[in-house]
Each structure stands twice: as C-alpha cells, then as structure tokens.
C-alpha cells in the first residue's frame, strides 16, 4: 500500500511532517500518532470541546478537523500552551480558584481561554461566558472556570 501523502505544519512551534490518511481527523493524529495526550477525546462529535486546539491561533475542535486541513498551518495544543516550567498565569488561576475537578475538560478550557484572553485582555463576564460556551464541564458548574479567567485577566495574563 502506498503511504499517504504527508501533511506539513507547525506543531507547538516545531515544523512537523507526518503521513496522514485522508479521512483521519486531527484529534487522532495528535493523540494516537503523535502521543500528545493532553488533548482529550470526549465525544468525537464536536459537542464537548474537550479536544479544542488552536489552528492558526483560533480555537478549533480537533475531532471535527480533518488532519489534512492543517497542512501549512500552525497547530497549538495544551502542551504548546503550557510553559516549559511551571504554569501560565491562566493555568495558575485555574489551580488557585479550583477550576479543575475531574480535569478532563480542563485542557480544552485552558486552550480556549488562552486564545480568548489574547484577543480580549479585559473581558466582561458575558464575553467570558460566550467564549467558553463551546466547552462542556460536568463537575464545576462553570463558576470557578469563569472566576479563573476573570482572575487571569485582572492579573494581566
């Protein structure tokens, strides 16, 4: 069987080239082929937001994104959002206010909120709520997640 043509993109800042079958989605490529397991698989249907990554800086559902479509683009996962040592101010805020419980939705929220705060450094509560409305959390009732994003914004994240 001829190997499928490669996809070339930047992954967490590094040039990456990997052979991908046409029907493969980005989530499978990241988790199963590249072993970047920080991105979570919650529904495979684009409903839960656990698999959110940034494509060219925009939050995208990797379970609905064909891997071939990131050719030539920049993909950032939770691993790329996290600093080499310690935590980002947003991540620190999540920890401090208890915005994680089971933590399975957390990478998706952190990725979404990182991009949101970059574009909206001084958001209103309503803007935050709208920004995270594509991510489901069953543990926290969202309140501490919203609080964490507010705290990070106030701290100049």
């Amino acid at each position: 069987m001829p190997s499928p043509p490669p996809v070339r993109f930047r992954l967490n800042g590094q040039p990456t080239e990997v052979a991908v079958e046409p029907a493969r989605v980005l989530l499978d490529l990241l988790r199963d082929d590249l072993r970047l397991t920080g991105t979570k698989r919650g529904c495979d249907l684009g409903t839960c937001g656990c698999c959110t990554v940034l494509v060219d800086g925009r939050p995208s559902l990797s379970c609905l994104t064909l891997a071939r479509l990131v050719d030539g683009r920049e993909v950032t996962t939770i691993e790329g959002v996290s600093p080499p040592q310690g935590l980002s101010p947003l991540q620190r805020a999540f920890v401090e206010v208890g915005a994680t419980q089971c933590g399975f939705c957390t990478p998706g929220f952190v990725v979404t909120a990182t991009a949101f705060l970059r574009d909206h450094p001084h958001p209103s509560r309503e803007e935050i709520v709208r920004a995270i409305s594509g991510n489901l959390c069953r543990c926290t009732g969202y309140l501490k997640i919203i609080e964490a994003i507010e705290r990070a914004a106030a701290g100049g994240a």
Binding site: R31, T37, G38, T39, K40, R41, G42, C43, D44, L45, T47, C48, C50, T77, I78, E79, S82, L87, Q91, F94, V95, E96, V97, G98, T100, Q101, C102, G103, F104, C105, T106, P107, V110, V129, R130, I132, S133, L136, C137, R138, C139, T140, G141, Y142, L143, K144, I145, I146
Partner: protein, 774 residues
Amino acid sequence: MATGPATDYRLIGGRIPYVEGPLKVTGRAEYTDDLSRPNQLVGRLLRSPWPHARLRSIDVRAARELPGVYAVLTGEKYPTPFGVLPITHDETAIAVGKARYIGDIIAAVAAQDERTAERALALIRVDIEPLPDYADPRDGVGKVAEPIHARGLNGSNIQKEVVQHFGDVDAAFARAAHTVRVKGTFAGVTHAFTEPMATIAEATPDGRLTVWSATQVPHYLHRALSEVLGIPMHRIRVIKPEVGGGFGGKSDPLPHEIVCAALAIETGRPVKILFDREDVFYTNHGRHPTQNDIRIAVDADGRILAYDIDATIDGGAWSSFGTVTTYYNGVLSMGPYRVPNFRYHGRRVYTTKPPNGAMRAHGGTNLRYSVEVGLDRLAEATGIDPFDLRDRNALPPNSTTVNQFRITSTSFRACLAAARARSGWDEKFRRLPYGKGIGLGCGFYISGSNSPIHFTPVMPQSTVHLKVDMDGGIAVHSMQADIGQGSNTLLAVIVAEVLGVDLARVHVQRVDSDVSPVDLGSYSSRVTFMMGNAAREAAQQLLGQLLRAAAALTGRPVDDLAVGRERYWSRTDPSVGVSFEEALRKAMEESGALVASGAYRSPKLGGSFKGARAGTAPAYSFAAYVAEVDVDVETGVYGVSRVWAAFDCGRALNRLAVEGQIEGSIHMGLGQVMGETMSYRGTRLMNPSLLDYKIPMPQQMPKVEILLVGDDDPEGPFGAKEAGEGPLIATLPAVGNALYDAIGVRFTDLPITPDKVLKGIDQRTKEGRPWKGA
C-alpha cells in the same frame, strides 16, 4: 520561627487548591486512554440492535478468520453472573442466551487496529428469536409472557419490591387537619461525565492480570474480575488512573472491564477498550425514571403526621444497585423532617432498556422533589410560611427516626435561617411580579453507607497507609478513588494537618491494588467521612512515633510536646523544640522508614427488621436552598437567576472543594429539572449524544451564594460530613416551587420544559385561577 499554642487548624477549613491541579491544567494528568501498552490490541464490542431477543446462534467464524483479528468472544466462555450487589448477580460479561436491551453486549473482538476490529464485528452473524420488549415498568408488575430475568418476582419483571410500615399511617391520616397528594413522573437522566469509559488489560506470563480502568470503585471491580474470570484476587492488579468524572456512572463493575480482561487473557496481549459517547449512553446506569404517588398528612399546626408513598422505578435491563435504590427511594424521603408514621410500597421493575443505577444523590432525588412540592402546597393550605413549616418539622439533633436511623449532628434549622435571611425571602415570597418567583427546597443525604456491600461491618470500610523515608516525604496509600472531587487533596491535607508538615511533603499515591489498602471507593458520599477518619488515625499514629523521637531529643515528656509548623515544641518552654526532620531522623534510627496504618470502622446502626440497614449512615448532611426564577410567560422559557445554598456538611475541611461540589451539584440538579432526559421511543434510546442530551451551558448557571452553617459532627474527621451528593437534592424542588411562585402553576413531573410551562399557564388561565396564591 515563632511558635505558640495553636488555636486553629493550619490547613483544615482553608481553601486548598487540588494537589493534582497543575497536572490537569497542563494536560499532564494521565487518564486511562492516555496510557498504552507495548503490542496493544484494540477491543471492540458488538451491541444488540434488539431490545429483547433469544440468541439462537452466533456465527463468529468469518470474524475469526479475518487477518488482524486475535480473538472473538461470545458469552458462554465467561458465563459467571456478576453485579455490584452480591444478592443480585444478574449480569454477564457478554450476553448469555438472551440480549436484554438495545446496546447489550453480544460479542467482543480483539484486533490489531480499530478498522479491523470494526470489520470483524460486521462479519459476526447472529440468529435470534425476537422476544416481547418491555418499555414501561408498569407493564412488568404482573406475570409477563417472557420475564426479562428468571429471578423476577413470581414470573413478573419486578426486580425488587419493598413494603415498609412504621407507626400507623391510616390512623394518622384519619386525624389529619390537611393532607396533600402529589403524583409525579420523572424522566431518567444520566451522569454525562466528560471522560468516556476506558479500560486496558494485560495478562502476563507470570500468571498475573493487570487492569487499568476508569472506575470509581477499584475494589468492587477487583472482586468482579476475580469472580467472573476465576482468578484469585491476589493474581489480579487493578490500577485506577485519573478518572474524568463518575457521579455514580463508574461505580458498578462494568461488563466491558471484564470483557477487556478476558480478551487480554485470550490473546496474551494487552487490550484496550475505549468507549465512544454512544457506548457511554447505552451503558448508562443513570438515575431511574420513576413514578411516585405520595400523600402527606399534617395537623392544624403544619406538623407532619405521616407519609404514604407508592413508587414504581424503571430499572432497565439489570439489577445494578437497584435493591438499594428501591429502599433509598422510600427511606431517604423522610429526613430532614420528623415523620412519625411512614408507609412505603416501592417496586423496581426490569425493562428492556439500558440499565439504571447509582447517580449523584442516588435514591434521594425524585421522591424528595414530590415531598417538597407537597410541603409547599401544605404551607399554602395551612397559611404557614414554607420556612416556618419546615422549621417546626425539623429532626432534632441526637434523635432517632421512626425507622431507626440514628441522627447525631444536624444544623438543618441553621440552614433554614441562613437561606431565609440571605435570600430576602420575607420581602420576596408571593410579592414578586408575575413571571418572577422564589422557592424553597430542602434535603438530606447519607454521609457514607454504613453497610459495606461485601461484608458485615466487621472489617474496616477504609484503610490508609503512610510511609516516611529518608527523603522526608510522606507517601499516602489508599484505595479511595479521586474522581475529581478532591479526595486526594483531602488525604494530603489531613495528613499534613496532623503531622504539622507542609503540604508539599505529602504524596498521595495512585490507586493500585498491589499496594493500596482497601477503601471501598467513591460512592454513597462515604469518602470524606470514612477515608478522612482512617487518614487521621494513620497520621496520629505516625505523629506518635515522631513525638516520641522528639521527646528523646528534647528531654521533654511526649504530652508536653505540641505540633507546630514543621516543628514539635515544648508547651512549658516554647524555646525548646525540634524540627520535623530532626524528629524523623531520630525516629528512623530505631526502625528505618516509618510506617503507619489507620482504619475506619462503621458503628453498629439501624434496626433489626428486613432492610433496616438501607440508608443507615454514621452521619447525614442537610440542606435548605432558595432559588429565584425568571419566566418568559410568552415562550415558557425560564432561567434560574439566583440560588442561595445553605448546607450542613459539618466542618468544611477544604472550602474550595466543598464549594466546587455544591456548584457542580446545582448544575447537575438544574439539568434534571430544566431539561435533561434520557429520551426513549419504546425501548430505543433516541438521544445517545451530548448534542441531543443537553447539559446546562454556562449561560444557564445562576449566581450561587453558598452558606456553610454546619456544626462539627461528633464522629466525622475534624467534624466533617459529606458534601458530594447532598448538595444536589434541594436544587430541584427549590426551582419547582419558585416556578409556582412565579406563574401559579404546580409542576409535579420532571423535567420542566418550556412547552410544559406554556401549557401550565394556559391551563391556569382557562381555569380562571389567579397566578399568585390567593
């Protein structure tokens, strides 16, 4: 460092961030599907498309011959029945003889990859004889043509029937000043945790089996694996990675966990089974759809004289926790009130639908809704304020209920007072404009089931081991299962508090049955109370060793020594003291690494009648919630704008975690009251996805004010009680009663969707009833 007598706890009662938080916010926390084993195969399940069918033959030859397929299993290879309760073993790993619901597992495949596994499943030929299906539990209470299980009561589909009568209910109703009857129908709801189930199993040539699984109760899984596979428990190792939420849905040992292990044994290779979201919905074990018919009698002063309850509970295809559900549904409806006469007739009936089981506030939710709506109506009938009515019926501390539950601490009346004052109830109730309303709902819940499932309360329900070595780090081992609720953090906090050490020294180890002593896991809101006590006892034992060493170093008697931060010092001369590390080094001279073990044993509780142990707990939590709603009377769409949540969990050990549990519980409670529904057409589940099964969005969350008013519980660790499930219960009736205040319509069925709201308004208008009270 200044040291003085400690007047307060250093960590207990604070806001302690979860110890694994930094791993979770960076995606570094490891869940089962993040793990993989070398040479791992993919396991896949063939699910029944028939609700009820005799399996005449299953032809797996073509599937077996497909290149890349390593094993195909059907039910007869491992037919030993299992189930979470030893008295109702009615499940098998794979269906034997019959399929009992759409989604029942009828074959399993292990293959080199997903695609091959799926192709193999498609090659399996199943010859069936269709059998009658049973969607409505009411159709299964009498003799049926084809009982779903042979163990059904007298040829019916009744899995469990409970009849209880305490006091004299008929006499109480005869002398009642007011009575109320509430009939309610409750749709099933499901846990909807974000992490789909996943299991990895590996059988190794040394004769051992290792299973990694997303489970809330590693110990029950351990037992079920041993029973069904016929392997002694000591040759099985169960490991619990991080678990992405459970809420009861990962507390039964589940068939796919056993199938995964069986495939690993068959193939000699590691096998992973990862669920997709449909698998999760078909596995369900969510809250039971129920039909309640209750009557409450009160005297002229609004004092409760009696409850008379009838309930039909839709069990789905298996027993699961159903016997407990059937009892809980009755007995957990009494507290927080004194009910002197009580009659309950409940039946849980098998249906050919996905099994129902334990879901957060198991057995304490649906009937509670009916009771609280009934009390709201009685308050109106008697002209007594809903708060006053509940206050005068409050169970007193240190009392015994009519069914012999032991009540020790209760701050229920303080909950009422706090919720009333903070919500501005007296200015708002029946005074808000049309479409706006305020309502009260109350609840109580067990702080740990007093009865361990597999043994009488002789063995400890929880054991915690500690080890300190030359690094000065304290390793904590326990089979308690952190599923996000913060029990690892609580373990660390308790150990650090007792020993006086920094939290960073305490390392809670991953649950691994080879090294973790048994704790029965995360269900029945037992962890804080039981594990907490075990952890405290273990830490006190360790502290004793350290203080003896400190005494030897300082020349002071042990009882003169106090615990400071990383320091043990003399009460009589605070300038004399040693550091934790100095004490540790001295103590290790004698014994090497220090070890300690603590355990929690249930007290003897409950009466001696049949079913007396169901619902007994060493303590109970109490709640009084007020909700404010805002109804668009043109569309029926409504929102819950505020919730005041007054909760008695004794002493809150980690305020951050208690708040998180309450906020999350309110979210889940709102989901059930506002719309979540396991929607069936006949026996077919119509919405097995998070797109069609909608949990509340951030926009739907109210502003929540949490009021923690509990007094210390006499037996809880540092005075604590549960806060994981009880906080859900009061949410539902608070909203239901607030809707009545807003639009004058009583809602007895859940969920309350906008179409029902509109219908209710129309009906009220047609009847010419006013929208507010009188």
